[in-house]
């Protein structure tokens, strides 16, 4: 910047001199031009304390971009600020982050992520600003088609998305978790251990008959203990104690606040969806069942359930939820304000109407069964709480033009859900405590004994896999915030906590090994690390330019170095899902089939990268700086 100004000033001086020589016109023609400047790109990532892995990807990219002549600003911001910047304000060039879903997800997840219909919205829907008709068409096709037709559409979709690179998939990490198995076991090993289903599947070791039963009953009354005793009770009683470096769950419990949710694990336990999925298996949760009446109509029947405040869960709550996710202002703000999370899946439901207390009729687009079931996997919200938050967001009573609603910006204090856990207390930045919801259908006893009395009453857990019956196995769930992954691991090793929640860096793995009591549990997470591009901005709007940047990422080196092998490099965002990944986009032989790294014996081949940039029309100055115009 300063360089160009000084050059201009010099030109102005020359111009004055030249004017006297009578050649003003020509000088004006030169001085009136903006000289080209070096391209500047900003990479946003969270600091190592928040996530030890992402920043390492950002560092490698920074080095390689610098090597090819781009001026890089590597910016670290906290997790909330990163997602606010990227998802809400869309004020970024590149970012390094993790996808929201940890469980293998359906290809339809790409609908929300890349469809151009969401380009003007903020949230996890199309944060890149991609507008490609080819992608839109394939996204629509995979929603309608079934069977082989859908597989073909998904294959083509993966190829197109990989080709266009609105984001570069880097690697699918192993969710490393340090656990202490003396109190709870059954940690899932084939996928992320700390997920909604993973937490619900835990078993209480004490309940198997070993000692500690006495203390367990002690803490069953945990709900009424005072704050000061609570921590002490958690240490001895039947509480699951988790440690994390992510303090967002201690201050915000809003299931639709995109910048505050990581994978939504704990809000997923506060709020029940109609349907849950475990791998490829779908089973009814808050619903007892659903029926496709015709192509565009879906009837859902509800289980008998109550909100944490005692109100019954009704069909109108469900109808409200879908209308609310479509427009959180429910018409109170001029333009609709859609939810920043669950937008893709909730967009399947075009209308919802309560037929009676426990049946809701959903009008759905013409979609296949899988996509319809996915649409039922949104958190159901209580109408009596959220209908009061549909006004435009205000600060101290003043309305600003933020185009958002109270519902989206609310921290949702004292969350009222219907889930198996309910909120107890929290100290912002330090800890949060939840307790088992004694009223939840998972812990309700089977009415076999009094079936005669209540007549037609069915099993309250009908359709729910038996592994969840009577769960969760803990009375309380306490999450404590610690300053780094290392202190989190130490805390588990010393027996102060049962498991770590947040990401661990590879340095912490040997610490787990050195501890006698802690054990490393890891499963592949579907939450892939990626580099996201702001496609709205030049030159990132150029898919050829993005393709060159993608080729600057040495995924193999990142997996071996940053992750110490605890990750798998990938090309397709669906590499961890059950969907077939076509060979054209399947990572093979340590190389990316679409955008292979400019490899020169393990380091970056700068000359080849520059040549590739020249070939697609970019230019360099004498000092090797990549020049840009019109930014």
């Amino acid at each position: 910047m300063t360089r160009s100004i000084s050059r201009r000033a010099a030109l102005a001086g020359l111009g004055l001199a030249a004017a006297s020589a009578g050649c003003l016109g020509r000088t004006e023609n030169i001085a009136g031009r903006d000289p080209p400047e070096q391209l500047t790109l900003e990479i946003n990532a969270t600091p190592a304390d928040a996530d030890p892995n992402g920043i390492r990807i950002a560092r490698q990219l920074e080095e390689h971009l610098t090597a090819v002549g781009i001026d890089v600003r590597l910016n670290t911001v906290g997790q909330t600020d990163l997602w606010r910047k990227v998802l809400i304000n869309q004020n970024f060039d590149l970012y390094v982050g993790q996808f929201v879903e940890t469980e293998p997800f359906d290809p339809d997840a790409l609908y929300g992520l890349t469809h151009s219909r969401f380009v003007a919205e903020s949230g996890w829907q199309n944060p890149f600003g991609l507008t490609e008709m080819a992608v839109d068409d394939l996204l629509e096709r995979q929603r309608r088609a079934a069977g082989r037709d859908r597989d073909d559409a998904v294959d083509a979709l993966q190829e197109t998305v990989c080709e266009l690179q609105p984001f570069s998939v880097v690697a699918f990490p192993d969710a490393l978790t340090a656990v202490q198995e003396s109190r709870f076991d059954g940690w899932t090993e084939d996928r992320q251990p700390l997920s909604v289903t993973g937490l619900l599947e835990l078993d209480d070791v004490a309940a198997d008959g070993s000692g500690g039963g006495g203390s367990a009953t002690n803490a069953s009354a945990g709900g009424v203990e005072t704050t000061t005793d609570a921590a002490a009770a958690d240490a001895t009683g039947d509480a699951l104690r988790l440690v994390t470096t992510d303090d967002r769950i201690t201050e915000n419990w809003n299931p639709i606040a995109a910048e505050y949710r990581n994978h939504g694990t704990f809000t997923g336990l506060l709020y029940d969806p109609l349907v849950r999925a475990d791998g490829d298996e779908f089973f009814p949760w808050l619903a007892t069942g659903w029926e496709r009446v015709d192509e565009t109509t879906l009837d859902v029947t509800l289980r008998e359930a109550r909100w944490h405040d005692g109100e019954p869960v009704t069909a109108s709550d469900v109808a409200f939820t879908y209308a609310f996710l479509r427009d959180t202002s429910l018409g109170n703000v001029e333009t609709p304000v859609p939810t920043p999370r669950f937008r893709g899946r909730s967009s399947v439901v075009e209308g919802a109407r309560a037929r009676d207390e426990s049946t809701v009729r959903l009008t759905v687009a013409d979609v296949n069964e899988t996509v319809a079931a996915r649409a039922l996997r949104v958190p159901i919200l209580p109408e009596h709480v959220w209908s009061e938050r549909t006004g435009a967001a205000t600060i101290a009573g003043f309305e600003f033009d933020f185009e958002t609603t109270e519902a989206i910006v609310s921290n949702n204090p004292d969350p009222v859900g219907s889930g198996p856990l309910r909120f107890v207390e929290a100290t912002a930045g330090e800890s949060v405590a939840f307790e088992r919801n004694p009223d939840h259908f998972l812990v309700r006893s089977t009415p076999e004994d009094d079936a005669d009395a209540s007549g037609e009453t069915a099993d309250p857990r009908a359709g729910v896999p038996s592994r969840y019956h009577g769960k969760p196995a803990f009375d309380r769930l306490r999450i404590e915030v610690l300053p780094s992954d290392i202190s989190a691991v130490e805390s588990v090793a010393e027996g102060l906590a049962d498991a770590t929640v947040s990401n661990l860096g590879p340095e912490s793995v040997p610490r787990i090994g050195r501890s006698a009591d802690a054990r490393l549990v890891s499963g592949r997470s579907a939450a892939f690390y990626h580099v996201g591009y702001n496609v709205r901005r030049s030159p990132l709007s150029n898919p050829r330019f993005r393709a060159v940047i993608a080729r600057l990422i040495d995924k193999t080196a990142i997996v071996d170095g940053a992750f110490d092998g605890y990750a798998r490099a990938a090309t397709s965002p669906l590499a961890a899902s059950s969907a077939d990944v076509p060979e054209s986009v399947a990572w093979a032989d340590g190389s990316d089939p679409v955008h292979p790294f400019f490899d020169d014996g393990g380091s970056l081949d700068v000359a080849a990268a520059r040549e590739a940039l020249r070939e697609i029309g970019y230019r360099f100055d004498g000092e090797g700086r990549l020049l840009s115009r019109g930014r």
């Binding site: 900003e42 600091p47 190592a48 304390d49 030890p52 920043i55 390492r56 560092r59 490698q60 600003r73 590597l74 910016n75 670290t76 911001v77 906290g78 600020d81 930045g429 610690l482 300053p483 780094s484 290392i486 202190s487 130490e490 805390s491 102060l496 860096g505 340095e507 170095g561 940053a562």
Partner: protein, 288 residues
């Protein structure tokens, strides 16, 4: 005992032990007895400085969390700038000098040595018959904290260990994870510019040089120790060189300002000017 309490206890134990030794060796038993008898008068004499430092410490403790939010939202995002400015200097320091022995030394200095370095001067200068230096050191502390807090708010940046984890090891926290419980309690990882460890240590070191005649034995302890703290901030991967340079500037500025603000009292009521009194007669002593 939680990690936080156990670390706190050991820091307090170390500092008290070192204070006792240093008081005897540097101040001397005679002066200490004298101080004890005149303690109340001297504190009353320096009441303004004591009040100022207390006010700043309370404001810092209360104001830090909300100001941190202000910094996050509106502060100057400086990580990229600082990193662009100095690049891998801290990584180079670690790669060149790191040995287990040095790591142990600098970790000790960063936590225990620093706490002692800050605690001793108020004790030592309170033992002087005149309270001018005592007041000045307290005012300098207050200026360091106050200006530091303003800069923390204005500048949002993360330290090298958070930006280059591939090259900079968080040595302090990998060797002594418990210490993190303490440091995270008193500081957050986005408060790196300027380095208050540097500025307060250098403040103490500067005072030690300026009062060399009073406490000749303190200077050779304080100066190496304060420089060790300065190096430790970078060696341990916590601060950038930029933070350290700013810390030096803050230290010298605070000392100069403290000398200007606290004039040596020419107490007409107490006309006896003992020969052991060594108020630097002119302000330029303040190394500005």
């Amino acid at each position: 005992m939680t990690p936080f309490l156990s670390v706190l206890t050991s820091v307090v134990a170390w500092v008290v032990a070192m204070l006792v030794v240093a008081s005897v060796a540097v101040i001397g038993p005679a002066r200490l007895r004298e101080t004890w008898s005149g303690l109340r008068d001297r504190l009353w004499d320096a009441r303004r400085a004591v009040a100022v430092v207390c006010a700043v410490l309370i404001a810092s403790a209360v104001g830090r969390p909300p100001l941190l939010d202000v910094s996050r939202l509106f502060g100057l995002q400086a990580t990229a700038f600082i990193y662009g400015l100095e690049g891998g200097f801290v990584a180079w320091v670690q790669a060149t000098f790191a040995t287990p022995a040095l790591t142990a030394y600098f970790s000790w200095v960063y936590v225990y040595g620093y706490a002692f370095l800050l605690a001793f001067p108020p004790v030592a200068y309170l033992a002087l018959p005149r309270t001018t230096t005592f007041s000045r050191v307290l005012v300098a502390y207050a200026l360091n904290y106050g200006i530091g807090l303003v800069l923390y708010t204005a500048v949002f940046a993360h330290g090298p260990r958070n930006v280059m984890p591939d090259m900079v090891t968080p040595l302090l926290f990998t060797t002594q994870p418990d210490v993190m419980a303490l440091t995270s309690e008193v500081n957050v990882n986005s408060n790196v510019f300027p380095s208050l460890h540097t500025s307060l240590s250098v403040t103490v070191g500067t005072f030690a040089v300026l009062t060399h005649e009073e406490y000749p034995r303190w200077t050779p302890v304080a100066v190496p120790l304060s420089l060790s703290v300065v190096v430790a901030t970078m060696y341990l991967g916590i601060h950038w060189l930029t933070d350290v340079v700013a810390g030096f500037a803050l230290a010298f500025g605070s000392v100069a300002l403290a000398y200007r603000l606290v004039e040596p009292r020419s107490d007409p009521g107490v006309p006896r000017d003992g020969p052991e009194d060594d108020q630097p007669p002119s302000e330029p002593n303040a190394s500005d």
